[in-house]
Amino acid sequence: MDDWLVAIIKVVGIWVWVLLIAVVMTWVERRGAGLIQDRPGPNRAGPWGLFQPLADGIKLFTKEEIIPTKAQKFLYIIGPALFSLPAFSAYAVVPFGDKIILGGKEIILQVSDVNIGFLYILAIGSMAVYGVILGGWGSTNKYSILGGLRSTAQMVSYEVALGLALLAVVFVYGTFSLRDMSLAQQGTFLGFLPNWGIFKQPLGFILFIVAAYAEANRVPFDLPEAESEIVSGYHTEYGSMRLGLYLFGEYVNLVTISGVIVALYFGSWHLPYIDLGAYLGPISWGIVSFCIFFLKVSFFLWLFVWVRWTLPRFRYDQVMGLGWRGLIPLALFNIFITALFIQLTV
């Protein structure tokens, strides 16, 4: 019974937390864009404009829902749902802290530590493309279809690079569980570097982050919704909360991706050179590890924003070229090097 309760609390808690971050991210994105571009950004609603996402949410919820006459109703409606569902469920296997001991019971700060967590993320992550393509197709709009097709092609191509980049990480840690990987990153590497994934897999990290940007449809890979070319891509015809689901889903994806990056490459909840867990009590270490983890996550969330407002956008064929001819060979090379290294050292 207790296990069930804990699981439910964890599920609900992390769901609310991720949603909250996603909501705040919309504000951070706009505010950050503003500050990068020499303007304040939304600063009217509440202190520093913090209630802006709330206002946006209310607006999206209260707007009239319009289904275009010629839209394929079922696909049109199911599109956003299919997009946001995997986004929310993907976080289930990503840790958000070490562990906490409450009432003599050890609770790991992760919704579920499945031993194939890794594959789960890949599988669930690739589900999102259905939401995009169905939304694009169901809208019966040429721009939407173009956006949906672009998105599909892009996601499918970069899935390969993403998977290959991750495979090298699996080689390094010898496990599929994200928690085990996180735990393995304690201590130092070669005596002077933190034992973080990025130092063992520098190339793999770059490949992963590029592929992840493409997976999340972020600039410079935001062709599916390239505003100046195909209006809004797959969500051109969407309004009200359906649009909101797409937008929130995107930010939730960002949170998940950042979580994965931190868990795999940036030492999860570990600080470099210092093992706080040894000094702190079980409860406080649980909280502190959570904080450390999310500080790291928020840096990567900010990186998404930062990159977005710095770069121009790729062209469709260039994205494909980069994916198939740049990232995938590099990822294979990375796997080869990693395997060789492991073979030689072990």
Binding site: G32, G34, L35, I36, Q37, D38, R39, P40, N43, W48, I206, W306, V307, W309, T310, L311
Partner: protein, 240 residues
């Protein structure tokens, strides 16, 4: 129609994407950090390049700004407009309608001249704020003030009648936003031979200004007056 083949050699730093991207990110970070610090400054005008408009009105409007019109009064508070209709004539958007009224006995403290505008309407919806009316006015009666908030709730409010125009004047005066008289630009001195056109055209005009312009030495005839005179003649032609 073959397109030219374009070949461009990329340097190594260009080729590997990341170097230039990082340089760009450094630049955007610089802006972000600068503005982030500026955010904490007090007052509505925090980020230097951005005015928080309704609260922050520190931006200085140019004294020659062409905004909402007002009708000038003279020192004694009398209306200076003489309803000559030249503004209406020159207006490219045809947004001004003036009706002339004759000054009655005992109204000398109200109107500066023998004629006055019985009605004076400016359709702000048509106005393009070119400032020609101001430039052509012989009495400097109509002025495009510094008021730039022109949003209204109804079409009727967008039509400025005489009362509103005079109210605008009072408002501008109270706020110290009266426009200084336009600086007149110097004109090329006249050639020794007197201009033929001058004598013939002004006599029929009822407006006072061209007469003045005539009496002045030729060197001092200014562009604005020329425009007036232009209009005079057109007005005269129309009356013919």
């Amino acid at each position: 129609m073959a397109k030219p083949v374009v070949k461009k050699e990329y340097t190594l730093t260009e080729r590997i994407y990341l170097w230039e991207i990082l340089k760009g990110m450094k630049l955007t970070w610089g802006h972000f950090w600068f503005n982030f610090k500026a955010c904490w400054r007090p007052g509505p005008h925090t980020i230097p390049t951005c005015w928080q408009y309704p609260e922050d009105r520190t931006r200085e409007i140019s004294p020659v700004f062409r905004g909402e019109h007002y009708l000038q009064r003279d020192d004694k508070g009398r209306e200076v407009c003489i309803a000559c209709g030249m503004c209406a004539k020159i207006c490219p958007a045809k947004c001004i309608t003036v009706k002339k009224g004759k000054r009655e006995e005992g109204e000398e403290d109200k109107y500066a001249s023998k004629t006055y505008p019985a009605s004076f309407q400016i359709d702000l919806l048509r106005c393009i704020f070119c400032g020609f009316c101001e430039e052509t006015c012989p009495k400097n009666a109509i002025v495009l003030g510094r008021e730039f908030e022109l949003a209204r709730f109804s079409k009727e409010e967008c039509i400025l009648d005489k009362r509103k125009l005079l109210l605008n004047y009072r408002k501008a005066k109270e706020e110290g936003k009266l426009k200084p008289p336009k600086k007149r630009v110097p004109v090329v001195p006249a050639p020794p031979k007197p201009e033929k056109a001058e004598g013939g055209e002004i006599k029929k005009s009822k407006a006072a200004a061209p007469g003045k312009a005539l009496k002045k030495p030729v060197e001092k005839v200014k562009s604005t007056e020329q425009v007036e005179a232009t209009q005079n003649k057109e007005a005269a032609e129309k009356e013919k």
